[in-house]
Amino acid sequence: MEDNKMAKGIYKKTFMAPLGKDNPVFVQILGICSTLAVTNRLDNTLVMSLGVIFTLALSSFTISIMRSWIPSRIRMMVETLVIATFVIIVDITLKAFYPEMWKSLGPYVGLIITNCIVMGRIEAFALQNKPSVSLVDGIASGIGYAYVLLIIAFVRELMGTGTLFGFTILGDWWTSWAIMIMPPGGFFMLAIFIWIAKEAFMKEATS
């Protein structure tokens, strides 16, 4: 009974940490490349996030199953190959069903392979924990990444073009801030997000 409760606690803790105080994007500053590159439009961001959650969850799970058989000298190579396999699945699925989306995401789907979040979670978590907990950690880290991206993309698309998911929200009176959908806007938005998040969490820690 007590053991059961403990085990449940681990799942909950594993799930909650990446959403707040261990967030991969604004606390650990991982996976910034894609965070900035795809957030100029909400639909791009959503697809990219789903791709990352899928890759992260399944590669954490797979590596965790194999963890006692991987020789430590070549473990980076094994991890990369496992990640690349799942990224290829995402890539060909997108290409087959959403060719338009696949085109506009360009190289960034492939770059999930070198996204430090995936490698980072595998190295830091999946290599030491059992498959089920690793799967939860993968999904949670993916969600922690996804919601930050979606918030940033929401602001950037709304201010940059006055639209959300391509639908016009702000009327003709709105003058689009072109800078928001261009590269500098991405840098500024992420910096502001990190600032706000840090202030919020610092207050929490001191009070």
Partner: protein, 197 residues
């Protein structure tokens, strides 16, 4: 534009207007973590430039002579990353054997490079934009130099920043991102010089 000049135009575009770091956001992780010191930034910058120039050219050869004829394009992610990892490993062994000085200067950066997304990104861009071999070669060098320029400039600014007062929540990566934003705006100014997609 004439065919002769196209690779050169790509070279300048890759280094300035389409800077791989500031407009495509590639290689941000090491950019943010390493740019605290000028010397280490220079070491990493040189290593990235060299590896990027060689691996994009190598990957062009592999993609066009092996993957395309056999209809294996979908394997390109795996193949590219293996080529990059193998090349980095090889270079590490060669300089360890022949040049101790260089090994101590660059050695620690080489493992970091395999997971630097700028390197893989350059290879993927080369495929998407359908560059010829010559263009790819110049694109690789240009992108590497652009990355080198950006990280050096950032390291210089961050050194000055050590004495500046920054709001507590913005210290570290926050302020670095804001600087990167301004640098991106400055680099956009180059786009008047050259217009290329």
């Amino acid at each position: 534009m004439s065919d002769m000049l196209f690779p050169l135009a790509v070279f300048f575009a890759a280094a300035f207007t389409n800077n791989i770091l500031l407009t495509n956001y590639l290689g941000m992780c090491s950019f943010l973590s390493v740019s605290k010191e000028i010397e280490t930034s220079a070491g990493l910058g040189i290593a990235v430039t060299f590896v990027m120039a060689v691996t994009t050219a190598l990957n062009w050869v592999v993609y066009h002579l092996v993957l395309l004829p056999f209809g294996l394009e979908y394997l390109r992610f795996i193949v590219f990353i293996i080529v990059i990892a193998a090349f980095v490993q090889l270079i590490e062994m060669v300089i360890e054997r022949y040049s101790e000085g260089l090994y101590f200067a660059l050695g620690i950066f080489l493992p970091l490079i395999t997971v630097n997304c700028a390197i893989l990104g350059a290879s993927l861009f080369m495929v998407i934009r359908e560059y010829s071999f010559m263009t790819t070669f110049f694109f690789g060098i240009g992108s590497g130099l652009g990355w080198f320029l950006a990280i050096m400039a950032m390291a210089g600014i961050r050194q000055k920043l050590k004495t500046a007062k920054v709001p507590a929540g913005l210290e570290g990566p926050g302020i670095a991102l804001i600087i990167a934003g301004f640098m991106a705006m400055a680099f956009m100014g180059f786009s008047g010089m050259i217009a290329i997609g």
